[in-house]
Amino acid sequence: MTELLTIRNLGVAYGGLLAVDDVELVIHANEVMGLIGPNGAGKTTTIDAICGFIPHAVGTIALGGQAIQQLAPHERARSGLVRTFQSVELFDDLTVRENLVVAAQAPRWYSLVFDAVRPNRARSFTAVDRAIELTEIAALSTLRPNELSHGQRRIVGVARALAASPALVLLDEPAAGLDPQETERLGALIHRLPSEGIGVLLVDHDMALVLEVCDRITVLDFGRVIASGTPDEIRSNDVVIAAYLGSSSE
């Protein structure tokens, strides 16, 4: 198996607090990796650091063997590392489809001039159409984010990430606030992504979902990796039960 994302010695400090401490994480192509841990364990901070949102993060991050820690967030996104946000964060001024279109298209140096003259020139939106199809949001495409339900907004957030043609999507609590049917559909979608050539890093508190769709799971506590393995190994790991499953019933 080829290593898609390789993280070594990842660290993030906020003042004296080590939010992420010496994290090692390898995600293979065509794999769904779970990242779990109690609130404040450093999951979101890990995603922030991987995607370049924390300039002072230390450690090495390689995507497909290429070191990317010098790249800006948008460059990491364009090279295939695309995230969603725990708080969704859609573009409220754009329709659902437009939300996906901006993620799908990287501008060229001449775009400004072309757009000024021919705003509607033919562009292929296969990535957008595919993302809409996968997430089954065709009915929403002309609506604006503030016309959507919470669950719909979350799915659109995932769709926007998929529209960017990612090699790896990093989903930050995509199932938070979804109803059981929506969660089930999301699970099916995540399960399907590896066959579309997309790796997944899934952060979520819904243990049923995580244990079901993930190939492997990494457990964080106080910024450190305390366990890593298949869902079965994690389920029966005493350290994990003590630190997380047992103490928190989320």
Binding site: D48, H74, E89, F91, V102, D115, A116, P119, E147, A164
Partner: protein
């Protein structure tokens, strides 16, 4: 060693900068607004003081008249008989304090959590109002700057340090402001009031927990800040023997630099920064006076550029190209509707304006051209502020660059289309250059940085002696057609030039509409909405903002080039930052996020179509025009913090919801909630 002498004398300016900066910190912490009118408050109370003293050195023969800054009211009322310096001083400070309380209560407290643009616009409104109403008053009461003999309340004399002679007043002022800073530091560190204010700056609830109402805190901080502004401006105007409604109000610019250096928090660093800026300005002005400067260096205004350099440095050190996770998402700008039928509307505008240009008289043709040029500045604001959410106040400075560039190049012999093209290209280049640091800051801080940039361009370029009083360029000609604006008699303000301006404006409208509808426009709005999410979606936020700065500079540049051919001669007065404030404000009235807002700004602009409709430029009404638009701005910002158009739209939504209750078709209504 006379540059040391100059630097030390600069302490007196530095002390005022520091005092005003301390006031900015106070009001910012109390109400989350960078009060751009802070210098204007000090300016007004100085006029109150010198008005009571009748602008005469120690004269108690006359005086006792209070200058009223109220449109429609008499210019002054008699308040005291034979006021002494101290009674006049007390009255002036009391009035400054009262003004601060009024502004907080009626303007800035209601706007505490309004969008930053509303807060900027409101404080611009207050600035414009005070500044322009006092400009009118000064003429009425015969206090033009030349005739004044202002009394200084500070010790006269000089102190000798080695061979340097430094006015005692410089040390007195610096000592006063340092004492103030220390006193405030003690007050804020050790009293319940201070703790509560600091807690309130973090979070309103924090203050409530300490048991002091945030309103009482706010008003007290505003009174403190305004009183301090009054004291410091009265003292410095007395020392420098110079007071002017506009110039004195613009003391705010270096004060902003000092406050930004102090991170708008804490008095120590702010005070040191203020004093240091003053001393640097003093030292720089000494270098300026020496003839040995290389000829390419601007000979005027270098000292005024110091704050800009300071602000840029502060931004580069402190800013970041993305806001951090903890940063509150500021409330949005008004909705930006997609232009529906731009070609149709632009054609209608073209036909209407063409008919007007060829049938109406010369004054009308002039008014139309003035409106078209203001429309360009408006479009520039709509792109950068409305579409991308970056509050920029440098549009007029860019227009000025292009205007002076065009005139200079054309006079030196570059033929017609090339002189403006080169000048506009240079303007776009400068726009991008200014954008490079500007992409690292946002909201209020960006507004401040662009004001500083505008003032610096104004002082460095427009005030330079090789440009002032520049004649208008030779008549533009294209393919043998005379496109010049002036002619003799009734033919003056020729329609041919109007058509040139109109064609360019229509093209610009189509281009802006196209950009808004294209992928570029989507990226602009995405960045405006959420920079972090935009970066996560693969959008290069800095480059996206830069593209908007470039387009904006291009539009302002075209407007400026037209202005070069329109005006009989160019002066730096035409491009004062105040003008840019007015246009931004007018766009805000019309809807900053739509093209119609820009066109509305053009119509409303001073000397434009609306002025002509009201009876032309001859009436007395226009002397109050800035003051009225300032007042209007404040009122609109308070009543409709999201802009008039958004306010109307919300009202319509509410009305239709209300009506919808009675009809069974309610289900088809938009469920969109006004945010």
């Amino acid at each position: 060693m006379s540059y040391i002498e100059n630097a030390l004398s600069g302490l007196q300016g530095g002390a005022v900068i520091a005092a005003l900066a301390i006031g900015l910190v106070l009001t910012f912490r109390a109400s989350n607004v960078i009060n751009l009118a802070h210098g204007a408050i000090g300016m007004y109370s100085a006029y109150v003081y010198f008005g009571l003293r009748n602008f005469k050195l120690a004269s108690t023969e006359l005086g006792g008249d209070l200058v009223l800054p109220i449109i429609g009211a008499p210019s002054k009322v008699h308040l005291l008989d034979r006021p002494t310096a101290s009674s006049a001083f007390l009255v002036a400070i009391a009035i400054a304090i009262g003004l601060g309380a009024l502004l907080y209560g009626f303007v800035f407290r209601p706007l505490r959590s309004a969008p930053p643009l509303a807060r900027v616009v409101a404080s611009l409104g207050v600035f414009l109002y005070l500044q322009s109403v006092m400009n009118v008053r000064v003429k009425e009461i015969g206090a033009g700057a030349l005739s004044l003999q202002l009394e200084s309340l500070l010790p006269q004399g000089v102190v000798r340090i080695g061979s340097a002679k430094v006015p005692t007043a410089a040390f007195a002022l610096a000592g006063l402001v340092i004492a103030c800073a220390v006193a405030l530091g003690v007050l804020f560190r050790f009293t319940r009031f201070g703790l509560a204010t600091r807690a309130a700056a973090e979070q309103e609830r924090g203050a409530i927990l300490t048991g002091i109402s945030p309103n009482r805190l706010g008003v007290f901080n505003w009174m403190l800040a305004s009183g301090l502004a009054g004291v410091s401006v009265i003292l410095i105007t007395g020392v420098q023997q110079k007071i002017d409604p506009t110039e004195t109000s613009l003391l705010i610019v270096p004060a902003l630099a000092a406050a930004l250096l102090g991170r708008l928090d804490g008095f120590g660093l702010t005070t040191v920064a203020g004093l240091a800026i003053g001393m640097t300005q003093g030292a720089v002005s000494w270098f300026q006076l020496r003839a040995s400067l290389p000829s390419w260096m601007p000979n005027g205004g270098l000292a005024q550029a110091v704050p800009l350099i300071v602000i840029l440095a502060a931004i580069s050190l402190r800013g970041s190209s993305l806001p951090n996770r903890a940063a509150l998402l500021e409330r949005q700008l008004p909705e930006s509707p997609v232009p529906k039928h731009p070609v149709l509307w632009t054609s209608l505008l073209f036909v209407g304006a063409t008919v007007a240009l060829f049938t109406l008289d010369a004054q009308w043709r002039l008014a139309i051209v003035v409106s078209i040029i203001a429309g360009f500045i408006g479009l520039a604001s709509v792109v950068v502020t409305g579409y991308v959410g970056q509050i920029s106040l440098a549009q007029y400075a860019f227009a000025g660059l292009a205007a002076f560039g065009t005139a200079k190049l054309a006079i030196q012999g570059l033929p017609f289309p090339f002189a403006p093209i080169v000048a506009i290209a240079i303007t776009v280049f400068v726009g991008i250059l200014m954008g490079l640091p500007a992409v690292r800051v946002r909201g209020m801080t960006l507004a401040v940085a662009t004001i500083a940039a505008a003032v610096a361009i104004e002082q460095l370029v427009f005030a330079s002696s090789s440009l002032t009083g520049l004649e208008s360029p030779p008549r533009p000609r294209l393919f043998g057609i005379d496109l010049g604006f002036t002619a003799t008699g009734d033919n003056n303000f020729r329609a041919a030039f109007g058509m040139l301006a109109l064609v360019l404006l229509c093209a610009a409208i189509i281009v802006v509409a196209n950009l808004r509808r294209s992928a570029t426009g989507l990226r602009w709005l995405a960045v405006r909405g959420n920079e972090r999410a935009a970066a996560a979606a693969g959008i290069d936020v800095s480059r996206t903002k830069l593209s908007a700065f470039a387009v904006s500079a291009l539009l302002a540049g075209i407007g400026g080039s037209l202005l070069a051919y329109e005006s009989p001669s160019l002066s730096s007065q035409q491009f004062m930052v105040v003008g840019a404030l007015a246009v931004l404000a007018l766009c805000y009235l019309g809807g900053i996020a739509s093209i119609s807002g820009a066109l509305m700004a053009g119509v409303l602009a001073s000397g434009g179509v609306l002025t002509q409709l009201q009876g032309g430029n001859t009436g007395n009404a226009s002397s109050y025009q800035f003051a009225v638009s300032g007042l209007l701005l404040v009122v609109v910002a308070v009543l409709y913090p999201d802009g008039v158009i958004a306010g109307l739209r919300n009202a319509i939504t509410r009305w239709s919801k209300h009506a919808g209750k009675n009809t069974p078709t309610a289900g088809t209504q938009s469920t969109r909630v006004a945010s």
